[in-house]
Amino acid sequence: MKNDKDDGDKDSHKDSDKLQPPETEIKQPPITLSPLVSIASQASPTAAEVETTYISGLCVSSVEKAGGMTSVGICVGAGSKFETSGLDRGSNHAFELLCMKDTETMTSSDIISRLDGLGAGVAALSSRDQFMITCDSLRDNAEGACGIMVDCLLRGKFSDTDLDDCRQVMHWINSEMGGVEWVKEGMMGAAFGDTPLGNPHFCPLEDIAGINGDMMRGWRDRFLTRENMVVGGAGIEHARLVDMVGRMLEEVPNGEVPTCGESVYTGGEFRMVEPNNMDGLTRVAVGFEVGSWHDDDLVPTCVLQTLLGGGDSFSAGGPGKGMYSRLYREVLNRCYWAEAAEAYTIIHNDGGVIGIAGASVPNKSQDLTVVFLEQFAKLTVVPVSDEELSRAKNMIRGNILTQLESRQVLSEDIIRQMQTYGSREHPSVVCEKIDRVTKEDIMRIARRAMSKPPSISAVGPDLTYVPKFEQISHLRGASE
């Protein structure tokens, strides 16, 4: 037995031995029915329009929105589609992970404590063709928060310690990625083969060791030009944002917009055996070619995705989640073994994929794949009903408008559209386009999608029952 006074667990101490606490009185009253402060008048701000300014080639676009918070973000035309194996593979994902590390002016812990003190947060996200860094802050502190975000983007130090950490995290992410993520990652490689959109986004294990500081600095030199960046925001006066970022990004040079080779849909397969996955299910996705962000059929493609709908067999949530969408009615409600079946689209600047992803026990993978392919084949032959088309249109309209209620989503939407199109379509224009979608459009998109071989991506403990690409590559839908 230790005889330390501090370990005297047997008896409680005398009050006189205890360090006296302060008084427990505080300076504010309880919350009662009468307000603590009275405000002479509250005026609801009116809705504002998006404003855009170019500062020597740098696009700044924003909208005012009532509330005490500001969202600002910067989108860069960079992504894994620009990467070359053996040269800069994984650089986009690495840059994302290194974003909050030491910079030339601040240590990582400075960054975090300063952001906390400003009531702010910064986040970065890389993808195949866009890199996005965003910050949210109390409105009064937007300038300070933005300054830190810009510092993270422009002045990362890439010390050996931070690079080591980054490589470790990349290994860890690789080992922690679940089947759902791998199926999606694999789908792009299957669909676009060796062309740029088929590049892996998460750095393959063998390339992680090659991540270094020069690669990161090279990334900045190549992509951070005024013409290749868009700054945007919501919940801030436009003039204030222009003034702020004008100063902060002054040093960013003008330059060419980087290009990469052409992405070509080939169709193909991705298979990854995952011996000890958590739930014992095999995940399968089928995919077909659709147009890019710039395609005339973009809106009907998204309506088609909503019409197919679907989800998990045990998902929570009430009516409105798509419980009368095709994949619920015709797959999840009919096939007891289908644990999940959900339509997805992956759309980029130079190509896209639409498909169905789902899960089942391994020995039902073949049935699941066949059912998914049949769902697409049916769309090329049988027109969709008026009721389900109208339902899908209302649902996608509702989802878009509900999402845009959020300041963060609104800000990101403006920025991404400016980066992609150089202009922003008002939601009401998008809704009009949704209105005009016909059942002929749906059939045309399905037929176009099925005019090339399907792609298949599968991850699970046992892939014996997943059809090989050769077994499905001949499949085509009805043609026009």
Binding site: D9, I31, T32, I39, S108, K321
Partner: protein, 466 residues
């Protein structure tokens, strides 16, 4: 503690109320107004309008949840929430579902310990229809016997899912031990036995007792015209919802009991531990200082990427000594009490050190809170509170909850005033009241063979002077 009785409570409230609102920027003062109207019978309608929006959320917030149940009907509030979606005398279940899906809307509900909430997200033009549907499912649910029997298995299946979620499970255990023997100690879903045996009469009875005009708030946010909303609510609910006021349903008072509940599975790989002190009620003057304390202690996750670079001292120590995989500070408020504490997920061999650092960081707030950390936490708290109001559903939720808990909606100016008024002395005073030398409640699940016993932790709720 002996000197407590001798202290004279000098109330210094005047200094707070005097804080000039002129010092706030215009966006704080010109935040959208919350309109509140009380209809005949006591039903309240409250809304906030976002100009230019095409969508709205409308919800019914009911001052009733599992704590108002008895041992016999525990689970009824939640069971009823399920049955609301199973058809009315006007709509079958399928008609209801198709109607919502066809109009591009969403309909959902949840039950908590003190509140039951039904809400719809719809287009501007469908707001009246949403109110009509909410009224229909709440006031005219069929409660078909066969459907009730079918739903038992669905709820038991949901229970399996809830119990797989360790965080929810541990909070259930924590309430069970902290408020043992009282309504607040019961679970929301109720025991399996009740789920199997609750009858149509139990559910009907629950509606009659709790779904009353004076216990309900209709809350709206987004594309809402308050006048029109009041009219529609009056038409739909006015004559159909029983007006209350005559007999208030007696609420079983919550009694906090220092105690612990340990569920030991030594073969699990992670231990889940929640340590809590009795906290403050919604309306307590200590409610906001406790929120500041919650922000100071913070949250941390090994995977979050912040590593050791976290402002919270507790977070730094947990990261540095690798004491846990993650932790979060919680501050749950109820009508007459609260729970303030930390939930951590940790490896079994670190539990003793974890509890030492955890208690020492909590008691540190009594004696050594710094001005710097209070200032930072106040700013963070403002940002967190505003951040939660992103989107109409979140605003409608905030309005409904505040109307039920405070009886009104606090303006952003009042929230800022209350946060600004808190200084380091207030935080220390609050910690002295709620943590220093107080009994705690603890719930733990998993490989907890090395988790210190009750007295070890109780002994560390105060510091000695040497």
């Amino acid at each position: 503690m002996i000197s407590n009785g001798l202290r004279i409570g000098t109330r210094r409230f005047g200094s707070v109320a005097a804080a000039s609102t002129a010092s706030y920027p215009s966006y704080v003062l010109q935040a959208p107004e919350t309109s509140v109207t009380t209809l005949d019978g006591g039903l309240r309608v409250a809304s906030e309008t976002t100009s230019g929006s095409e969508t709205a959320t409308v919800g019914v917030f009911i001052d009733a949840g599992s704590r108002f149940e008895t041992a016999q009907n525990n689970g009824a509030a939640h069971f009823l929430e399920h049955m609301a979606f199973k058809g009315t005398s006007k709509r079958t279940q399928q008609q209801l579902e198709v109607e919502i899906e066809n109009m591009g809307g969403h309909l959902n509900a949840y039950t908590s310990r003190e509140q039951t909430v039904y809400y719809a997200k719809v287009f501007k033009k469908d707001v009246p229809k949403a109110v009509e549907i909410l009224g229909d499912i709440l006031l005219d649910s069929k409660l078909d016997e066969a459907a009730i029997d079918r739903e038992r298995d669905v709820i038991l299946r949901e229970m399996e899912e809830v119990n797989k979620n360790q965080e929810e499970l541990i909070l259930d255990h924590l309430h069970e031990t902290a408020f043992q023997g009282t309504g607040l100690g019961r679970t929301i879903l109720g025991p399996e036995q009740n789920i199997r045996s609750l009858t149509r009469g139990d559910l009907k009875n629950y509606i009659d007792t709790h779904y009353r005009a004076d216990k309900m708030v209709i809350s709206g946010a987004g594309a809402i015209d308050h006048g029109e909303l009041c009219k529609v609510v009056g038409d739909v609910f006015g004559s159909r919802v029983a007006s209350g006021g005559a007999v208030d349903f007696p609420m079983e008072p919550a009694v906090f009991t220092g105690s612990d509940k340990r569920v030991r599975f030594d073969s699990d790989d992670k231990a889940h531990v929640a340590l809590a002190f009795e906290g403050a009620s919604w309306t307590s003057e200590y409610a906001f200082p406790l929120m500041v304390m919650q922000t100071i202690l913070g949250a941390w996750d090994r995977t979050s990427g912040s590593g050791k670079n976290i402002a919270s001292k507790l977070g730094q120590e947990v990261a540095e000594h690798e004491l846990a995989h993650s932790f979060m500070t919680f501050n749950n408020c109820y009508k007459d009490t609260g729970l303030f504490g930390v939930y951590a997920v940790a490896p079994d061999n670190k539990l003793e050190d974890l509890m030492w650092y955890l208690t020492s960081n909590m008691v540190r707030l009594v004696h050594k809170t710094s001005d710097e950390e209070v200032a930072r936490a106040k700013t963070q708290l403002k940002a967190n509170m505003l951040m939660q109001l992103d989107g109409h559903a979140n605003v409608a939720e905030d309005i409904g909850r505040q109307l039920l808990t405070y009886g009104r909606r606090l303006t952003m100016a009042e929230i800022f005033t209350r946060i600004d008024a808190i200084d380091t002395a207030d935080v220390k005073a609050t910690a002295a009241k709620f943590i220093n030398d107080q009994d705690h409640a603890l719930a733990a699940i998993g490989p907890i063979h090395a988790l210190p016993d009750y007295n070890y932790i109780r002994r560390r709720s105060y510091w000695l002077r040497y």
